[in-house]
């Protein structure tokens, strides 16, 4: 079953501080789409090592949003990209879409 993003971690960090939760959402709503776009462009351009760097940043966001399995996929995918393998591309990109949808809903 596919994982569903959640804000449990953010709520734990904020201790109920709604102002921070809003601030966090406004940041991730800007940062994540940009990183997703960077990743896609780099991969399309065949720059696998550079795309691995973006995957590195994105994986943190998977962790923040409680996507533990996706986080593990991203770890493996990042390492794979460094050695030129895109075997986990579909798995990773499916999570990207899930996160994108979640973020849009939060707007």
């Amino acid at each position: 079953m596919a994982e569903i993003p959640n804000l449990d971690y953010i709520k734990e960090i904020s201790g109920g501080n709604e102002e921070f939760e809003k601030k966090f959402l406004s940041i991730i709503q800007v940062e994540f789409p940009k990183e997703k776009e960077d990743y896609c462009n780099l991969l399309e351009g065949g720059q696998l090592e550079e795309s691995a760097k973006v995957v590195h940043k994105i994986k943190h966001k998977f962790g923040i949003l409680g996507l533990n399995n996706a986080y593990k996929i991203a770890i493996k995918y990042e390492e794979d990209l460094k050695i030129g393998s895109t075997a986990l591309k579909e798995d990773f990109e499916s999570v990207l879409d899930t996160v994108q949808e979640f973020i849009v809903k939060m707007e």
Partner: protein
């Protein structure tokens, strides 16, 4: 404590700011998306702690700390473990946090930071002294009316011998008329630890630990039963 946050991810900076914001003794005075900007800031400002990401464009966190001449305490915040061993080669690295950083884990880091600043805080209780304490890298010892400078980082261990103490460095051993209690007050807790009533060791010089002793260079130092838990707590155990 004045802190800065260096991380190319805005979400990571926001989370770290929130974690620090809940602490009465911590003030985040600046944030930077890359190490070069942080470097410029550090050239003109004095701070106590850097929360530092490793994987960053332009200059990595590891390369950044290599450029610092008088580094403050550093806590690495990163998404992987690959640099953990290298990070702890530096005395001023207090902790290595894996993202996402939990509240519980962050509290441990704060405990470590407080311990690292504890000797200076105990001296006068004010913050200015903390800043001065961090700068002390040398210790002057009085031998035959000569003040000899020792680099704290060169000290391996100190042994109590009656009315004297023996300070063993990488190069030599100095015999000084003093007590372990007195010298302990002059040593930063981030580097030194008393592991036995007759021994203070430089924590960073440990080669290995076996049962109730530690090996430092060729010296086998006993660990007292009461100090063993403290020592184990400070180790970055796998």
């Amino acid at each position: 404590m004045k802190c800065i946050i260096v991380d190319d991810e805005a979400t990571a900076r926001a989370i770290m700011e929130e974690l620090c914001g809940n602490l009465p003794d911590f003030e985040v005075v600046a944030q930077f998306p890359n190490a070069l900007e942080a470097l410029k800031y550090l050239n003109q400002n004095e701070i106590d702690v850097i929360f530092l990401d490793i994987h960053m464009p332009l200059l990595t966190g590891i390369d950044f700390i290599r450029t610092l001449k008088n580094p403050p305490k550093v806590v690495f915040t990163t998404s992987d473990k690959e640099f953990a061993i290298e990070a702890f080669e530096y005395d001023f690295i207090v902790d290595y946090l894996i993202k996402p950083i939990t509240h519980h884990r962050f509290q441990k880091t704060i405990g470590k930071l407080k311990s690292a600043f504890a000797p200076a805080l105990a001296g006068t209780g004010d913050r200015a002294h903390t800043l001065e304490g961090r700068k002390e890298e040398d210790l002057y010892i009085n031998i035959d009316r000569r003040l000899i400078k020792l680099k704290l980082g060169d000290i391996l261990l100190i042994e109590a011998k009656g009315d004297y103490i023996e300070i063993k460095t990488v190069q030599t051993t100095h015999r000084v008329h003093s007590t372990l209690k007195k010298i302990k007050e002059k040593l930063p807790e981030s580097l030194f630890m008393q592991i036995h009533r007759s021994y203070i060791i430089n924590f960073t010089k440990i080669i290995d630990i076996q049962d109730n002793s530690v090996l430092i260079e060729r010296n086998v130092i006993p660990i007292s039963r009461s100090q063993r838990p403290n020592l184990m707590q400070r180790l970055n155990l796998l």
